[in-house]
Amino acid sequence: MRDNNTTRWRTVDIVVAAVIAVAFGVIFWAWGLLWRAVDPAFAFFPAGQAIMYGVWLVPAVLGGLVIRKPGAALFCEAVAATVSALLGAEWGGVTIVQGLIQGLGAELAFAAFRYRSFRLPTALIAGALTGLGAALFDFFVWNSEYALASYRIPYALLTIVSAAAVAGAGAWALTRALATTGALDRFPAGRDRTPI
């Protein structure tokens, strides 16, 4: 079998990247329902929010790991944001800009490895960098009135840690799990499968 190392996106690349974004749009929606059902009080625990943050960043890293083409991380996160806006998310258009900033973080990480490495360390760095993008946006735009040492900095750090763990390591594990189902057979990620 020929290895697919061109940078041109095939139709499957585009559609599946977009589908990943869309599916996460739906998963976020169900997650929101579950969240409200399980524990409403948690939303008032500010640090808790930061720990959850990584979940919203998964599409960026997952897109990069699955598609392995320049722009995949950015495209996935931006489409996910646009989808949530179209579905009527409360933040409207602002999400799109936020999505672009977050996607850019992961994109830079994959670019730094010239789109050749898709192993756990790369995923962790990509996760941390999307987290950084998200944290910077929040740090300046939403959290500027809060105390620096006791809130803004811990919140930002927690966001990055959560992003590295949930979005980085999480997306890496998810890619491997997806590969074992055969759903990624059309992608290089699906062919890394080593029979154990």
Binding site: W9, R10, T11, V12, I14, V15, V16, A17, A18, V19, I20, A21, V22, A23, G25, V26, I27, W29, A30, W31, L34, V38, A43, F44, P46, Q49, F75, V79, T82, V83, A85, L86, L87, G88, E90, W91, G92, G93, V94, T95, I96, V97, F140, V141, S144, E145, Y146, A147, L148, S150, Y151, L174, A177, L178, T181, A183, L184, R186
Partner: protein
């Protein structure tokens, strides 16, 4: 359920404007208002937003239904600020151990909450009046977005309602096979994760198939595409963007003149 169609009267004068123009106008408006932390400018902005609501054909009820989660966010802002405010100026209103609520803190909270709404509403209004197909068309024709990517994303978006049904189907299939979580929250979370995973797998398979079907109809053949639906960007669309910038700028100017303006940076 997930709503995915425009929920506004499509004939309203501003709803009919070019989707790219509407989106840019909303973003310009939002990002000008992000620059301030005072309550006055956002209050004026919200008044403007509510005033143009009929021009977009959006009913107040629709707006309320889409933005109610912001109210939860507002409570979060107030609580966080009470606990972690950067400065506590003004008169002390409540003092209970480490919690010191001052008039300054409350004013800041008011500013933040109003700003949150002022920034979020334009996008919500615009997306409530925008059809995804029209948005993709306009992005391709007026914003020079690459057609393959815009159409590919649009095709994936069509799967949203199907994925909602798929979620129910997967849950039912599991139940039919004897798989359930009971009341245990941990088991609930596990079942959620496995259902979400199955949804993702199914979505990727569907996407792969859809891509094949699109290729079968010449999507990636390299022939230059034509467009069946013309989207025009006319003077009125440019005007919409200019007006939006001017209105947001005016709100800031009023705030500056009143001496209440507090820039985000500086």
């Amino acid at each position: 359920m997930i709503s995915f169609e425009p929920v506004a009267a499509p004939g309203a004068p501003l709803a009919r404007r070019n989707p790219v123009a509407k989106l840019v106008a909303a973003l310009v408006f939002s990002f000008i208002l992000i620059a301030t932390l005072d309550p006055v400018a956002p209050a004026i902005a919200i008044a403007v937003e509510l005033a143009v609501l009929p021009l977009f054909g959006v009913r107040l009820r629709v707006l309320a239904r889409r933005t109610w989660p912001l109210l939860v966010g507002a409570v979060g802002v107030v609580v966080t600020l009470v606990l972690f405010a950067a400065e506590r100026s003004g008169r002390v209103l409540v003092e209970a151990g480490p919690v010191v609520v001052t008039s300054g803190v409350l004013l800041t909270a008011l500013g933040l909450v109003l700003r949150m709404f002022a920034v979020a509403l334009p996008g919500v209004i615009v997306f409530a009046t925008t059809d995804p197909t029209d948005l993709a068309d306009a992005l391709i024709q007026n914003a020079k977005a690459p057609a393959r990517f815009a159409i590919g994303a649009l095709a994936a978006f069509r799967l949203v309602p199907l994925l909602g049904q798929e979620w129910q189907m997967i849950s039912m299939a599991r139940r039919a096979r004897g798989v359930e979580s009971g009341r245990n929250p941990l088991a609930k979370l596990r079942l959620f994760a496995s259902t979400a995973f199955a949804l993702l797998v199914g979505a990727i398979r569907r996407g792969t198939r859809l891509a094949v079907a699109m290729d079968a109809r010449g999507f990636d053949a390299g022939t230059p595409r034509t467009v069946a639906r013309q989207q025009r960007f006319v003077a009125a669309d440019g005007l919409l963007i200019v007006c939006s910038a001017a209105l947001a700028g005016a709100a800031l100017t009023v705030s500056v003149l009143l001496g209440t303006f507090r820039p985000l940076i500086g």
